[in-house]
Structure formats: C-alpha cells, structure tokens
C-alpha cells in the first residue's frame, strides 16, 4: 500500500521538529514526521546541560527543555508523527519505505522530503588505536545516554580522548556523578569544543586538557585497565619518550561526528566529501528535486539553535516547492573552498531571476587571527569581510548578493589582513 503525503520529514530531533512545526504553520496539512526512537526529541533528551536556546528562544535552556518547546507545538498543531519507525529506504522518486511493529511495512510517496537524520559518533574503529578490545570503551554520547537517561554509572575512572563538546560536557558530568576524569587528550594542538566548555567543564573542575596528545595503546582483557598516552609531533606521530600509562576503567571517545547519510546516498543524493552531508543550494535543496537536508545530517553544527534555524529554512523551501511558488533558475554557481576554508554550506548557488542575499556558512581549516574573508569571481574580489578570529570549532558566515556574482564559480578564501 502506498500512502501519499505532501511532506515527509525523516528524523525527529531538533532539525526534524523545527522543520515540522514550520511547515505545518505555513499551511501544509499533511506533514509526516518519522523517527526510529520511541520518543520525540532525538539526542536533545540526553543533553541535560544548559546553554541551548539563546538565539531561538532568547533564554538559556537545557536540551530536554529545548526539545519540549517544539514537542508541545507538534502536539498543539496536531502534526502527524510515527515513532519506533525505521526508514528502510528512500528513492529518487521520493518514495519512503518504513517499517514498525504496529503497521508492518508502509510506503509513503512524498512531494517533498526533508532529511533530518542527524549524525552518529565516530567509533574506535575509525581511529586505529592499537591494543586489546576490552569492555569500557564508549563513545561520549553512549556514556551520556547511560548516565542521563538510563541512570547508570558506566565506570569509576575515565580518560577522555577528543575534546569535542560532548567529551567536555561528559568530563564535567562524570565528575559531578562522583567519577574521576584523569584527563582529556586532544591530538590537535587546539581544543575541538567551544571555549566556554573548556572553562566551565574542565577548568572549573581542574581536569587537565592535554593538547597534541593521543592514546597509543589500550590495556586490559575483559575490562579496560588503562591506556598509554603520548605526545604527537606536527605530523601526528607519537613522540618517543613521552609515553605515559594512565590507569582507568573507561575510555570515552569524543572524536567527531559523521552525518548519517546512508538513506540519502541510496536515493542518489550527492554528498560533500568534507562535510559528509549532502551538497545543497541556498534553499538547502540537494541535487534531487524536492529533497532537502538540514541540521547535523547536512553538516555538524556548533549550536542546536543554528540547527533549528537551518531546519526552518529547509521547511520554507519545501513549502514553496509544494505550493508551486519556486522561481526559475537562471544559472548555477559552484562555490570553491580557497585558502584557509574547510567547507561551505551551501556548496552551490542557484541564481534566479530576482536579486537574492545569500548567507554562506563556512568553517576555517585552522585558528587564524585578523583576517579577511574574500569572495572571488573571475579573479576579482566581489566581497570582503574582516574577522578578528576564526577557528575550526566555530561556524562563521558571510552574506553575498546574487547580483554581485559573475561567471559560474566563486572562490571563498581567508587571507591575512
């Protein structure tokens, strides 16, 4: 049986919730939100710390409170949602095959799809750490779920590898719950997470942050007993003589997130090898007409507020498409990452017959101070913005008018002032 819906949103975390609310409010009656978990809210439910919502709600909320704001709107607006429902496949004709224990198999045919599946954590296997394979090695998010949702202590003493925000947050959380955090090790010479988390999660609790340091061996048979850490040189090779044994019964990994795009790939959505997410235009539309992406499945965000804002934009674009109000595309401009720029979102701009201001988000490749961000078309700088400081951990943006763009390529680069 095939059921028809105007808009199907896959994933009911912050991106999916915000997109669903926006689309329903914009007049789309048959919005369907699908999630594999048994509750709405996604990972926000386990992010019990505060710091969410300053941009969207103008107040500081915890993850669960942030999610609740949207969940209440979903209920009030009577948005249709299916929980405990796995999407098995999506195809380029926008057919979504789902399965759950109550309905069995249902295929939906949508006029538009918003991909909002979020991301998963990089596992140990992606790091190639030598040593045994005992229990006690967790991704930081898994440990977070154990502590904050299941109410369990995953161990007594931890070493955290990777200074991503989840790792920093978990360093504080484990400490507050009476566990000992020996150190946070970061292979890069700079921390991965937000500075505020270095201050309030590590410095407040005197947890050492060891930069340019990594784990080179894991010890223990059944349960992890310790790790060997060592400093690394400029090419990330361990430096002889700096090895140190650290006793611990937990190793938490906070070493990056990977957008979860298996479904998108199967549908034929082109991915950006740098972000791991879809390549999109300024409307967050992928190469497949009517399939949009937003939130962490598109690129990993620093703040959930930005996820929600991006999701609303995707919803707005999808609604415009469903209502048949899209403008004719005149030409496509490819964005090229120049000096110092790791990636941009969007990756291409579809220029229509009307002038448009385009917000281009980017991350830098390294920490740089006193720089200019230039947009270059046909060897000419068409836009320049001064920035005091950029860092890979902090997303920045520039705004460019489509009227200023020449040719079919635009390079975005960072240069010293």
């Amino acid at each position: 049986m095939i059921e028809k819906r105007s808009l199907v949103i896959i994933g009911a975390g912050p991106a999916g919730l915000a997109a669903a609310v926006k689309a329903k409010k914009a007049g789309i009656k048959d919005v369907l939100l699908i999630d594999r978990d048994i509750q709405l809210g996604g990972i926000l439910k386990q992010c019990i710390h505060n710091g969410f919502g300053l941009h969207v709600f103008k107040e500081e909320l915890t993850g669960p409170e942030f999610a609740l704001r949207y969940i209440r709107e979903i209920e009030e607006l009577k948005v249709e949602y299916k929980l405990n429902t796995m999407v098995i496949s999506v195809d380029k004709n926008k057919r979504i095959t789902t399965v759950n224990p109550d309905d069995g198999l249902i295929v939906y045919e949508a006029r538009s799809i918003i991909l909002a599946m979020g991301c998963r954590e990089r596992p140990r296997g992606a790091l190639r750490i030598p040593g045994t394979n005992p229990s006690g090695i967790f991704s930081a998010g898994t440990a977070q779920r154990f502590v904050n949702i299941e109410g369990m202590k995953p161990g007594k003493t931890a070493l955290i590898l990777g200074s991503g925000d989840i790792g920093l947050i978990m360093a504080r959380r484990l400490t507050l719950e009476g566990m000992k955090v020996r150190a946070v090790c970061e292979i890069m010479p700079h921390p991965g997470g937000l500075t505020r988390n270095i201050v309030q999660c590590l410095e407040d609790f005197n947890i050492p942050l060891k930069l340019s340091t990594t784990v080179i061996a894991i010890h223990g048979k059944r349960r992890i007993e310790g790790v060997t850490i060592a400093q690394v040189d400029d090419s990330f090779k361990p430096v002889k003589g700096t090895e140190k044994y650290i006793e611990c019964d937990m190793l938490l990994l906070s070493v990056g997130l990977i957008p979860e795009n298996e479904l998108a790939e199967e549908a034929g959505v082109e991915l950006d090898p740098v972000t791991g997410g879809a390549r999109v235009n300024q409307y967050l539309e992928t190469n497949i007409d009517g399939i949009y992406a937003c939130g962490n499945v598109l690129h990993v965000h620093d703040l959930v507020d930005y996820v929600a804002i991006e999701a609303e934009k995707a919803a707005k674009s999808a609604v415009r498409k469903i209502k048949g109000k899209t403008r004719k595309i005149k030409k496509r401009i490819e964005l090229i990452t120049g000096n110092g720029i790791r990636y941009t979102v969007p990756q291409f701009i579809d220029v229509t017959d009307k002038e448009e201001k385009i917000k281009i988000y980017f991350r830098s490749t390294s920490i740089m101070e006193s720089i200019k961000i230039n947009a270059i078309c046909k060897d000419e700088i068409i836009f320049s913005k001064k920035l005091k400081r950029v860092a890979p951990a902090e997303m920045e943006y520039i705004i460019i008018s489509t009227d200023d763009i020449r040719g079919r390529k635009m390079i975005i680069e960072a240069r010293a002032k």
């Binding site: 439910k45 505060n50 609740l68 502590v147 904050n148 949702i149 109410g151 201050v199 407040d204």
Partner: protein, 120 residues
Amino acid sequence: MKKEMVCISCPKGCRMTVEYEGDKVLEVLGNSCSKGWDYAVDEITKPVRIVTSTVKVRGGKLTVVPVKTNKPVRRHLIFDVMNEIYKAEVKAPVKEGQVIIKNAADSGADIIATLDLKKI
C-alpha cells in the same frame, strides 16, 4: 590587576581582558554585550554556575529525570548541591518546572525538573 577570561554567558565565548582592583571591576575589554560585564564582575567577586543533573524517579517510564538549579549557584557550592541531588527521589509523574528540592544546600536555588516524565 588584569585578568584574561572567556565569557561563558553564551556560546559565542568572547575573549575579555578584565582590569580590577580587589573585587572592584574597573574595565572590561573584548565583550560584545552587557552580559560580558556582568560575567566579569561575577567571576571576580563570586563566580556562579547553573548546575544540571538527574534525580532518581520511582514508578516512572525512566529511572531518572533531568533537573537544574532554577538560578545560578555559587561555584564553591556545586558539590554541596550535588550531594542533595544524589539523595533526592521523586515519584512519577513529574512535570517540567516542578520543584524537587527547595533551596538546595542553602544556595538560594531550587532544583527543578527539566522534562515531563510519565508513570509506567
């Protein structure tokens, strides 16, 4: 005296240089809003933090419910507040905003639930 600090009022994390004498702040440089000034004054005189954790639940769909202090508490009281949170237990159902501990560890802040939790 001069002190370099990062404002933690929001995720922007402004790097600030704070000039002060004793516990009087004379000048704050590098902040992009008034929260930076307030944060600098608090850090010099009496650092405060919001504490978030979980409290045990009886008869709920889950065994713990997330909680927070309804206002920032003095930093040196964090573990005293946590000690009261460890001991607390609440009966399901729990509503967001429900007070679970009043004036935890004499910090002046209440511990409130941050999520609705249904009965089994």
